[in-house]
């Protein structure tokens, strides 16, 4: 199909394109400016680069850590823990939400518990987790699961309960069973809710795994962060932080892409 645009339309499109480009350039520009300022301040010793590190030192550390494989190893460990916590937390939360939607009595009984659990800072359970799940990977994954599961349950349950009453009525008039009502209306109309929850859980799972590593681990980015701060290697701390930003950003982007593909027809 060939489309022809009027001159005005072309001008409009060009203007839009220029605007988008300008936004992107500005985004990169802000980062570049900050890095340059940071580097200059450190270079002229206006700030103490022992405490603040500097972009060039971070770059050097990054190259070293990548070179001897340390960084890849620790990043890989953290990513796996996060993915495990993310998957288990989301699946478990979804399953609990289904059960509570299914049985109105259970929902009424457990609602106050959910609220309390949601408000509770999960890090407070750290000591318990260590005793119950040990000091290995299990403890870290448990932490990531705990942080994502409650919020998943609450948002999915809210979504389930707000399903269009009209559509449910339509199915009931066709004599649909509760299982059919879930499969045909409640689940599909909550695909957008699920996608939104996945996005939240990316952040939650990272909080969980890094927190977990602070508490117990001997490996992973969280461990490197704690180690770096204890021996006052701020270059290491900064480098890990930046790697974390990148990893979390990539994971979020993957979920956002998934949402774009899946949720297209669910609005």
């Amino acid at each position: 199909m060939k489309k022809t645009f009027s001159l005005e339309h072309k001008a409009f499109l060009k203007k839009q394109k220029m605007h988008t480009l300008f936004v992107h350039l500005s985004q990169v520009g802000v980062l570049a400016l900050l890095l340059a300022l940071w580097e200059l301040l450190a270079h002229f010793e206006i700030i103490d680069s022992f405490i603040t590190s500097s972009p060039s030192k971070i770059a050097k550390t990054l190259v070293e850590l990548v070179g001897d494989g340390t960084l890849l190893y620790h990043a890989w460990v953290s990513t796996l823990e996060t993915l495990a916590g993310f998957a288990i937390g989301t699946a478990l939360g979804y399953a609990i939400a289904v059960v509570l939607w299914w049985n109105g009595f259970l929902k009424q009984v457990f609602e106050p518990y959910l609220i309390v659990l949601n408000s509770l800072p999960k890090i407070a359970l750290g000591p318990l987790i260590i005793i119950w799940a040990g000091t290995g990977k299990m403890a870290i994954i448990t932490m990531a699961v705990l942080i994502s599961v409650v919020i998943t349950t609450i948002s999915m349950l809210n979504g389930f309960c707000e399903t269009s009453a009209e559509k449910i009525l339509l199915l009931r008039s066709l004599k649909a069973s509760r299982r059919q009502i879930f499969a045909k209306v409640v689940a599909p109309s909550n695909v957008p809710t699920l996608m939104a929850t996945l996005k939240i859980n990316v952040g939650m799972a990272w909080i969980g795994s890094i927190m977990g590593e602070y508490l117990v681990s001997k490996e992973g980015l969280g461990y490197l962060l704690v180690y770096g701060s204890q021996v006052f290697r701020l270059d290491l701390v900064m480098t890990c932080t930046i790697v974390l930003c990148v990893l979390a950003g990539v994971m979020y982007a993957v979920v956002a892409l998934l949402e774009k593909i899946v949720a297209k027809n669910y609005t």
Partner: protein
């Protein structure tokens, strides 16, 4: 043959602080092939009646009889209620899926309806790609696909603007007549009731009873639009309007 019968039906709802009698000794029937409209002041219990027909609730006393083997009816909602995540074709199969009737015969019947009513070329489209009128037609065909004894139309045009409403009204009416269906229309729009129904049942305000049964005698006109232009239309409108005003007070 009677497709639907209400015999002295009463329904009382209870809440913490009060009890509400929604229907009291309500009796009416719908015969096979007939198009009946229920009109009444708003809040007169029309939703209760529809829920009783669908057997979603049970009457407090009296009897609701539905001549349909599994108690399923074709329910057409205020908004079209199409599932945005399903194509038109899959939307139309919904009822068959629910009732485990996805036989080749039934699927062919559904496809033939699509063809007959000009939706064939849109069958792979999603609802949001269709106009309001087309969506409403899809909704009607979805209810027809399970071949129900009785169609329930719950103010099916109230979400449409006036111009579209007249067109869709003609469209829905002609499809229902062509498929020889029995229909019960619930509306608060008197002109809509006169332009579609063979018989109009006027209800009182809550607790709902039958105030008046009115035959329109407009069967010789083919479409609701023609009925609206018939000489007796204005008179019937006036009569029902007056009766309804009295029902409100």
């Amino acid at each position: 043959m009677t497709v639907l019968q209400f015999e002295n039906v009463s329904k009382i709802f209870y809440t913490k602080t009060q009890q509400t009698t929604a229907l009291q000794n309500l009796s009416f029937c719908v015969n096979k092939g007939e198009f009946v409209a229920l009109v009444g002041p708003s809040g007169c219990g029309k939703t209760t009646i529809l829920s009783l027909v669908c057997q979603l609730i049970q009457p407090t006393s009296g009897k609701v009889t539905l001549a349909s083997p599994n108690g399923a009816v074709g329910y057409m909602l205020q908004k079209d209620g199409l599932f945005e995540w399903r194509t038109i074709e899959k939307n139309i199969r919904l009822g068959l899926e629910i009732q485990h009737k996805l036989t080749k015969e039934n699927l062919d019947f559904a496809s033939s309806l699509l063809r007959k009513y000009g939706l064939e070329e849109f069958k792979r489209h999603y609802p949001q790609q269709l106009s309001g009128g087309m969506r409403q037609r899809t909704a009607l065909i979805r209810t027809l696909a399970t071949n129900p004894e009785l169609l329930l139309l719950d103010e099916p045009f109230s979400a449409l603007d006036f111009q579209t409403r007249l067109e869709v009204c003609d469209d829905v009416y002609s499809i229902i007549k062509r498929e020889n269906k029995t229909a019960l229309l619930v509306t608060h729009d008197i002109s809509e009731a006169i332009s579609m129904a063979d018989r109009i049942v006027v209800l009182t305000k809550r607790p709902a009873r039958v105030l008046l049964q009115h035959e329109t005698h407009l069967q010789k006109y083919k479409t609701p639009l023609e009925r609206r232009e018939s000489p007796t239309f204005a008179k019937q409108f006036e009569l029902l309007h007056r009766v309804l005003e009295e029902a409100k007070s």
